[in-house]
C-alpha cells in the first residue's frame, strides 16, 4: 500500500500571538515550528498502515525551504521520503496550494492508494485543500475521520458528529482527512532521527498563482475578560469561590 501524507509547517505559539509590524503575519522570531496535531495523526496512521501492509509512505509539503525541518521530524517517525514544494515563505491561498499539490502528485510514478490530510490546517484552517485535491484527481474523499480500517481495497471510516458516530465506506484509491484523536502519535526513536537525516527529500519550485482568497491583515482576537480576579491562595480561597459559584447560579 502506497500512502502519501500532506502536511504544513506552522509556527507554534504559547499564550498569545505577536504580529509583525505590518500586521500581515505572526512574528515568528521567538517561536518554534511544527505541524497540526491532525497531521501528526495522519503520519502515524500512514506509518501503521505501511507496517501492517507493506508499501511506502511519502510526505508532501508546500512551504519555505525551512519546512525541511518538519519533513525530517516526520521522516523520523517512519516515512520513507519527502517532497518539498518550495515557496518564498508567503502564504499560498487554498486554490494555489491545491493546484501545486496536485501537480506534484501527478508527477509521481507511484499512484498512491491513499492520500491522507489533516482535517484543517492549524493556522489558516480553510477546510478545503483536500477536497480540491480530491476533485482534481477524481478521487472520493471522506473528511474528519476519527476511526479508520482498510481491508480489501476499501476504507471503513468513522467520524464523530456530536455523540453519534457516522460510518462511511470508501473504495481506494481515496483521500481521507483525519482528526486529532485518531491515534496517539509515537515519538521518534534516536535511530529514527539519525536515519531521517539521510532520507531523500526532493525539492521542487512550483509556479505561484495570483491569490483569489487574498489575505490582507491579521488582528489578535480580543479576550472576553480583562483578566482573572484572584480570589486567594490555596484552600483558604475556597469559600470565596463558593460565593462566586452561588452568585452565578452554579449551585442550583
Amino acid at each position: 500500500m502506497d500512502v502519501l501524507v500532506c502536511l504544513k509547517r506552522v509556527p507554534i505559539a504559547g499564550g498569545t500571538f505577536l504580529l509583525t509590524p505590518d500586521s500581515r503575519d505572526i512574528e515568528t522570531k521567538y517561536l518554534g515550528f511544527g505541524i497540526s496535531p491532525h497531521e501528526e495523526n495522519a503520519v502515524e496512521a500512514g506509518v501503521q498502515l505501511v507496517e501492517q501492509m507493506g508499501g511506502s509512505l511519502t510526505l508532501l509539503t508546500l512551504g519555505p525551504s525551512q519546512a525541511e525541518e518538519q519533513l525530517r521530524a516526520q521522516l523520523a517517525i517512519g516515512a520513507s521520503r519527502g517532497i518539498l514544494l518550495e515557496t518564498d515563505g508567503q502564504d499560498w491561498d487554498p486554490q494555489a496550494t491545491a493546484a501545486a499539490l496536485v501537480d506534484a502528485i501527478n508527477a509521481e510514478e507511484t499512484k498512491f492508494d491513499l492520500i491522507l490530510f489533516g482535517a484543517e490546517s492549524a493556522d489558516s484552517a480553510g477546510y478545503q485543500i483536500h477536497i480540491r485535491v480530491a476533485h482534481a484527481l477524481g478521487r472520493p474523499i471522506v473528511t474528519n475521520v476519527k476511526g479508520m480500517k482498510i481491508a480489501d481495497g476499501v476504507a471503513h471510516c468513522e467520524r464523530a458528529v456530536g455523540t453519534v458516530r457516522e460510518l462511511y465506506e470508501c473504495p481506494l484509491p481515496a483521500i481521507i482527512t483525519v482528526r486529532d484523536g485518531l491515534n496517539i502519535p509515537r515519538y521518534p526513536s534516536v535511530p529514527g532521527r539519525i536515519q531521517a537525516r539521510k532520507k531523500p527529500i526532493e525539492m521542487k519550485k512550483p509556479e505561484p498563482h495570483v491569490p483569489r482568497l487574498e489575505k490582507l491583515l491579521l488582528t489578535v482576537a480580543p479576550s472576553n475578560t480583562s483578566g482573572a480576579q484572584v480570589l486567594g491562595n490555596g484552600v483558604e480561597a475556597v469559600p470565596a469561590l463558593v460565593e462566586v459559584l452561588r452568585t452565578i447560579g452554579a449551585l442550583g
Binding site: A13, G14, G15, T16, F17, P37, H38, P94, Q95, A119, E120, S124, A125, Q128, I131, R132, A134, A136, P140, V142, E158, R159, V164, R165, E166, L167, Y168, P171, R179, D180, G181, I184, R212, L213, E214, K215, L216, L218, T219, V220, A221, S223, T225, A228, Q229, V230, L231, G234, V235, A237, V238, P239, L241, V242, V244, L245, R246, I248, A250, L251
Partner: protein
C-alpha cells in the same frame, strides 16, 4: 439574493444553520434557503421564521442520507440556475465540507469561518471578509476575488434571531443531475451514542477541565467528583489526551471540541492559545493553578492560586455543605 444551506440529519436541523440564515439577513433582504436530503421540506417553517422566502429542496434518490460530494454537485447546479451573490452555510464540519465541494465543482474561492462579511458594491470588485485563523485566536481580513461569494459563518459570531410573525418559506423542489462518482461516499450507518451518564461536552452547562497539572489518570477522580456535584462533565487539554489519560472526546480546544458552558473550571491547564480557542466562549472561567503567571489567567474571570489536588477536594466539600 443570498442562498443559505440548511444542514440537517434526517430532518433534524443543525441549529448552527440558523446563525447562517441570520447572518445572511444582515446582508440582504432577499434570502433563500436550500436543503439537501430526505425530510428536508419539513424545515420550511423554521426557514421562514429565520427569514428565508423560499426553501429549495433537492430531490434525488441518491440524496436520501448525507452525501457531501453529491450535496456539492446539487448546490453547484442550483447556484448556476439562481445566480445568488453569495452562498452561506454554518461553519460546522458539514457546512465547511459541503461548501468546499461546491467551491471545488465551480473552481471558485471559499472563505471558511467568517466573523464578518461585506459584499462587493461594484462589479469586478472583491468581497471583503474577516475570517478565523488558529481557532479564532487570530482574525484575518481578506478579499475574495470572485463574483459569487462562497463562505461559512463562524459559529459564535452571530446569534440566531427569528422574525416575529414570519410565515413558512415556500417549498420549491429541484432535481439535481448526479454522477455515480458523486455518490461513492455517503453515510452508511451510525454508531451508538457514547456510554456515559454525564452530559456531552457540547451540551454541558458546567465543565471541569484538567490539564497536565492533574498529574495522571487517577488524578481525575477529584475532578469527576466536582463535576458530578455541579451537574457537569469532564474536559481536558491535549497533553492529557496525548498521554492517554483521558479519551479524546473530552479534549477541549482548537483540534478538540469547542465549548461554551456557563461555567468552565480549568485546573492544571496553562492556557495555550490552542486550548483557549476551545473554551473562550464560556460565560465564566475559573482557574485553579499553582502558577500566578499562567497565561490562562488573562482569559479567565476568577482564579485560585494553588495546588488543585488540595483545592478541588476542599471545594467539593464546601459545595456539599453549601447545598444542604
Amino acid at each position: 439574493m443570498i442562498l443559505v444551506l440548511l444542514d440537517h440529519d434526517r430532518g433534524e436541523l443543525d441549529q448552527l444553520s440558523l446563525r447562517a440564515l441570520t447572518a445572511a439577513r444582515k446582508l440582504s433582504d432577499d434570502v433563500q434557503a436550500v436543503v439537501i436530503g430526505e425530510h428536508g421540506e419539513s424545515l420550511a417553517v423554521v426557514a421562514g421564521e429565520y427569514g428565508a422566502s423560499i426553501l429549495h429542496v433537492a430531490s434525488h434518490e441518491g440524496l436520501a442520507d448525507y452525501t457531501p460530494t453529491a450535496s456539492g454537485r446539487a448546490l453547484s447546479q442550483l447556484v448556476t440556475e439562481l445566480k445568488p451573490v453569495a452562498v452561506l452555510a454554518a461553519g460546522s464540519p458539514r457546512g465547511n465540507e459541503q461548501l468546499a465541494h461546491l467551491a471545488a465543482f465551480l473552481d471558485l474561492p471559499m472563505a471558511a469561518e467568517c466573523s464578518s462579511i461585506t459584499l462587493s458594491t461594484s462589479p469586478g470588485a472583491p468581497h471583503s471578509v474577516t475570517r478565523a485563523r488558529w481557532g479564532a485566536s487570530l482574525l484575518e481580513d481578506a478579499y475574495v476575488h470572485s463574483e459569487l461569494l462562497i463562505a461559512t459563518v463562524l459559529t459564535f459570531s452571530v446569534e440566531p434571531a427569528p422574525i416575529a410573525g414570519a410565515t413558512a418559506a415556500t417549498v420549491k423542489t429541484f432535481l439535481p443531475n448526479l454522477e455515480a462518482s458523486d455518490l461513492l461516499v455517503r453515510v452508511l450507518g451510525r454508531g451508538g451514542e457514547a456510554t456515559t451518564t454525564r452530559v456531552t461536552l457540547a451540551d454541558a452547562k458546567v465543565i471541569v477541565s484538567g490539564g497536565r497539572g492533574v498529574g495522571g489518570p487517577e488524578g481525575f477522580a477529584i475532578l469527576e467528583e466536582l463535576a458530578d456535584l455541579l451537574g457537569g462533565t469532564i474536559g481536558c487539554s491535549r497533553v492529557v489526551t496525548s498521554s492517554g489519560w483521558r479519551p479524546h472526546a473530552e479534549q477541549v480546544g482548537q483540534t478538540g471540541t469547542k465549548v461554551a458552558p456557563d461555567l468552565y473550571i480549568a485546573a492544571g491547564i496553562s492556557g495555550a492559545m490552542q486550548h483557549i480557542a476551545g473554551c473562550k466562549n464560556s460565560k465564566t472561567i475559573v482557574v485553579i493553578n499553582t502558577d500566578p503567571e499562567a497565561p490562562i489567567l488573562a482569559y479567565a474571570d476568577y482564579a485560585i492560586i494553588g495546588d488543585l489536588h488540595k483545592v478541588i477536594p476542599a471545594l467539593s466539600a464546601a459545595i456539599r455543605e453549601a447545598k444542604v
